[in-house]
Amino acid sequence: MRASCPLGDTGEVLIFSAWSLTMFYMAVGSVYRLSLLGVFTAPLVCFLLSLALMPGLLDASPERKTVVDGWRESHAAFSVLAYGALGLAAVAGVMFIVLNRQLKDALMSTGLFANLPPARDLSKVVERLLLLGFALLTLGLVCGLVMEKTGAANKHLYVALGQWAAYAVLLILKWWRGMPPGKLAMAAVLLFVLSLMIFPLIN
């Protein structure tokens, strides 16, 4: 695909998601000194890029677009960026779950325990990445509501609305009544996995 955001086929979406994930890791990892986050992020990036290389997923010479809908392009770009932030929140969530288990079981002597960042820092990272991802998701959704729609796009939009609502409920619950950090981390992981599973099915 040329003259537009490189999100024309599944392969490009996967590659763009991997870029997005890496970009947020580079931003968050250095701010919070979470070098181990890279160890947890790398397998996911590797998985996304390997998947993109599967035959039929990536168009080697995409045709040039003659008409570009700005709202559609923005919708796609914001949504994939949101996936990057929410994906990284899920990765930090996995790290929190691992550390939490080790703290609960008093497994201090492992090398992983020594290298994992403090639980409260991880929990803050999960929360902030969820907020950032949600903000980007909202922008993507607004652009999606404004763009020209087809029948398939409507189905896609309903699922996106459902996803947006799920993240909104999670963040409102966290802000309004509080939530144990372990539950927040688990929800970040589950929602992201669910999103990964649903969108390929409807696209």
Binding site: L103, M108, P118, R177, G178, G182
Partner: protein, 325 residues
């Protein structure tokens, strides 16, 4: 030549102790002795050691022994050990790495040796031989601490507790520590927490006088023993060590304040026997409960792990000595 916690009791060690600000001048005095060209004096609470470079080994030993015997009787002198050549090098390298310390692998000794050397250097008591030896020992110390696990893990209950607190909360700045029962171990754990940045402290005890005394010492506030539950909402870390025969903190009490606490993590350290905190409290998701057995077990594991590293450290030291000889 010197003595340490293994060769001499504290009443002998204190006779030989040199104050921190005298290390340089005492080293300088050594160089005024016949045949001794260079000298460094190391003095910590567990040891006093003198390192010298002499033109004649035997004469150097005799002169040094004579110098150290001033003001000390034969009984005191019998606790001294002496090492020459590669043995002395090996001893210094092991010392800098913490292999000769009371707490195996402790890191404080590295700074203490560095300080003693700096004092001697500034007093003009070191030249080519000891400068090279001490610089080499610091390089060996760094290499061993980087390539082995000799300093890994906390080896005392207090340090294990503080390490765990930092693993849960990160920096302890602004953390609220609550002490239930103003015993000695609680005091030590609280002091460690404060030294790492915990800024708020609440003390409660059946005897309000003891609570007040500890709170004054650690700049905290006192809460009467019959109303400490209200302070549960603010606390990040609770250290409990009462002499009560029944638990004083129940899971239901924590459950009752979870929402008020906004489900913030709570680190419970129970160092009492019988235990002060109901075991079910540890099942609450954001609660991390450690009793005295768990803490001691972690400290023992760290000690065992350090002990296993000694052979590796000694091999590395031997390699370094063979390279310098």
């Amino acid at each position: 030549m010197g003595l340490n916690h293994e060769t001499a009791p504290v009443e002998v060690r204190e006779h030989f102790a040199v104050s921190e600000d005298q290390l340089g001048s005492q080293a300088r005095k050594l160089t005024e002795l016949t045949t001794i060209a260079e000298g460094v004096v190391i003095s910590t609470c567990n040891r006093m050691e003198v390192y010298v470079a002499a033109e004649d080994r035997q004469m150097g030993l005799d002169v040094l022994r004579q110098h150290l015997s001033e003001g000390h009787d034969d009984e005191d002198m019998s606790h001294l050990y002496q090492k020459c050549g590669d043995d002395a090098k090996q001893h210094l390298f092991a010392l800098v790495c913490g292999l000769d310390s009371m707490v195996l692998g402790e890191t404080e000794i590295f700074g203490q040796v560095k300080h003693a050397y700096k004092q001697a250097f500034e007093a003009g008591a070191t030249k080519g031989v000891l400068n090279r030896l001490f610089q080499k020992s610091f390089a060996v110390g760094k290499r061993i601490r980087t390539h082995t696990r000799i300093q890994m893990g906390a080896t005392s209950v207090g340090n294990v507790a503080v390490d765990l607190a930092e693993k849960i909360f990160g920096k302890l700045n602004g953390s609220h520590v609550m002490i239930i029962g103003a015993g000695e171990t609680s005091r030590l754990v609280a002091k460690s927490m404060i030294s790492r940045g915990a800024s708020q402290l609440t003390v409660t005890n059946r005897s309000i006088e003891r609570a007040r005394s500890l709170a004054e010492e650690l700049n905290g506030e006192v809460v009467p023993f019959d109303s400490w539950e209200e302070a549960l909402v603010k606390a990040d870390v609770i250290v409990s060590s009462t002499g009560a025969s029944e638990p004083v903190l129940h899971a239901s009490q924590i459950e009752a304040v979870r929402r008020k606490r906004k489900f913030r993590p709570l680190f419970l350290i129970d160092i009492a026997v019988p235990r002060d905190i109901e075991a079910q409290a540890g099942d609450i998701e954001e609660v991390y409960l450690y009793d005295i057995d768990k803490l001691q077990q972690l400290a023992s594991l760290a000690k065992e792990s350090r002990a296993k590293q000694v052979t590796l450290c000694e091999q590395m030291i031997a390699e370094e000595i063979s390279q310098t000889s």
